[in-house]
């Protein structure tokens, strides 16, 4: 792996927050950190950061060690296998018409752009298994609702700003709904609870209702 420009920031007694230039570097850093420190408790991707948390303050390496291990390049770690996920989606979301009007596209064109895009799971947040997916075509970048819905059903496929996402469970939400999937996005009883893990490549496939 080549050198990545980073900044290491202290974050309490048992974590560091690592700033990177972009989200692709975030996932490369996360993979490298997991290889260097197998005892890490949490490796949390952000939009342009990765948080590394050890189980106790005694486990925390020196800041200089972290900088050297992550910024130095080399290391000889094979990049982790990128998870690839395809989401079968019925594109009948409540906001599809409004998005078409706002963007000046037909509903079919909105769907075609979403289906044609290749997304990367930038990070998880908001709810267990809720992955913020980067890769939304610029033409589809619309603001979230001014007045969020009190209830969005689980499996709703949505867009807002530069992201797309799938609501894992029913919850309030302000993102614009374009479709729905039957896929189980979060299952705590599974060995891999989240269908979409940070760093995964995600595509959507249009299916008949």
């Amino acid at each position: 792996m080549s050198a990545i420009a980073i900044e290491v920031r202290p974050c309490g007694q048992r974590a560091f927050l690592i700033e990177a230039a972009d989200n692709a570097s975030v996932h490369a850093l996360a993979e490298r950190a997991t290889g260097v420190w197998p005892g890490l408790e949490d490796v949390v991707a952000g939009h342009r950061t990765v948080l590394l948390a050890w189980p106790t303050p005694d486990d925390l390496p020196k800041q200089g060690e972290v900088e050297a291990a992550l910024a130095g390049g080399g290391g000889g770690l094979a990049p982790g296998e990128r998870q690839e996920v395809v989401i079968p989606t019925v594109y009948r979301g409540d906001d599809l018409g409004a998005i078409a009007r706002e963007t000046g596209l037909s509903e079919e064109a909105v769907v075609a752009l979403h289906v044609g895009a290749s997304f990367t799971a930038a990070f998880t947040g908001f709810a267990p298994g809720f992955a913020y997916l980067l890769g939304l075509p610029r033409e589809l970048q619309v603001p979230r609702l001014d007045d969020p819905r009190t209830r969005v059903v689980s499996g709703s496929v949505a867009i807002a700003g530069e992201y797309s996402a799938i609501y894992p469970t029913a919850s309030p939400g302000g993102w614009r709904l374009i479709g729905r999937t039957e896929a189980v996005v979060f299952d705590p009883s599974s060995d891999r609870p989240a269908l979409i893990e940070p760093g995964a490549t995600v595509r959507f496939e249009q299916v008949a209702p």
């Binding site: 920031r9 202290p10 974050c11 309490g12 007694q13 048992r14 974590a15 560091f16 927050l17 408790e41 949490d42 490796v43 949390v44 991707a45 952000g46 939009h47 342009r48 950061t49 990765v50 948080l51 948390a53 189980p55 106790t56 303050p57 990070f123 998880t124 947040g125 908001f126 709810a127 267990p128 298994g129 809720f130 913020y132 469970t169 979060f186 705590p188 009883s189 609870p193 989240a194 893990e197 940070p198």
Partner: protein, 292 residues
């Protein structure tokens, strides 16, 4: 088994939580005053991380249809068995059908009620803890809800009798601080605040807001000023004890049911040893921050 009569403001099942799933958006959850959870378990001869009840300000009352051995730690409260007061911070036995009452917290917020054998509930991602943010784990306890004991008698991990269960060998019941001070480490985003913000954090005065819960403790006082032109922060990972400062300038100390990522700058992080103090901060009480 226990049968809840009155859960008070909020009573939940808590163990040491579900750390290690933050990358998937799962909060750590678990007892916010972990040393008190461990002490309560020790008093009844349980391994340290078994599931207990965590009460909130007003205590709990429950029935033990088949009796049991229990102990209360954390926020100091009057404990009664069938109306007779028993010692706080010491194990007691209750007969079948006995009613156990943990009174309102005299100091702090959360008392921990441990039972020999622990409490059983369906584990989710390895933990029986109720997570108020995501709804993972058992729901908060309601009247008439029954929770079975775990398998007993408990066997300590090393096969030996747990030393804390020996009379007189208790590690001591962690006390709730009278004049709470949270020691903090500056950063990771102290540089997104105006000059003097860290000094202002230390100087206070600050008061604990009643709008506090297991997700975070909101703090009231003079707002901390952001650095002019710092722009918006993108979502990034946070830890328990992170002191987030939203645009209001009023800090929130994140507790165990916090989100895993956040978009507000974190000016400082509470040290591990003082997280339990944060978890016992009473609404309306003063709190100070000390930068290490």
């Amino acid at each position: 088994m226990i049968e809840i009569i009155d859960p008070g403001l909020l009573t939940t099942v808590q163990d040491i939580g579900r750390p290690g799933y933050a990358a998937l958006g799962v909060p750590p959850s678990g007892a916010v005053d972990r040393p008190s959870l461990i002490a309560a378990n020790a008093l009844v001869g349980n391994p340290p991380g078994m599931a207990c009840l965590e009460t909130t300000l007003t205590g709990v009352s429950l029935r033990l249809p088949k009796g049991g051995v229990a102990a209360v730690t954390g926020a100091r409260a009057v404990v009664r068995v069938d109306g007779e007061e028993v010692a706080f911070g010491e194990p007691f036995a209750a007969d079948p059908g006995a009613v156990v009452e943990v009174g309102p917290a005299a100091e702090g917020v959360r008392s921990y009620l441990a039972f020999a054998g622990g409490l059983d509930a369906e584990p989710v991602l390895g933990s029986r803890s109720t997570d108020l943010l995501t709804g993972l784990g058992p729901p908060p306890l309601a009247p008439t809800v029954a929770v079975p004991f775990g398998p007993g008698p408990p066997i300590p991990p090393d096969g030996a009798r747990h030393p804390y269960a020996e009379p007189g060998s208790s590690p001591g019941i962690p006390a709730v601080a009278a004049n709470p001070v949270l020691r903090v480490v500056a950063g990771p985003r102290a540089d997104r605040f105006a000059a003097g913000a860290l000094e202002a954090l230390e100087a206070g005065p600050w008061t604990v807001s009643p709008r506090s819960n297991r997700i975070g403790v909101r703090i009231e006082g003079d707002p901390l000023a952001p650095l002019a032109g710092a722009g918006e922060l993108r979502s990034e990972g946070i830890v328990t004890g992170s002191i987030q400062v939203p645009p209001s300038g009023l800090p929130t100390v994140m507790l165990n049911d916090r989100p895993t990522t956040g978009g507000y700058p974190v000016i400082a992080v509470v040290i591990e040893e003082d997280l339990r103090i944060a978890g016992q901060l009473r609404p309306g009480s003063p709190v100070r921050f000390s930068i290490g």
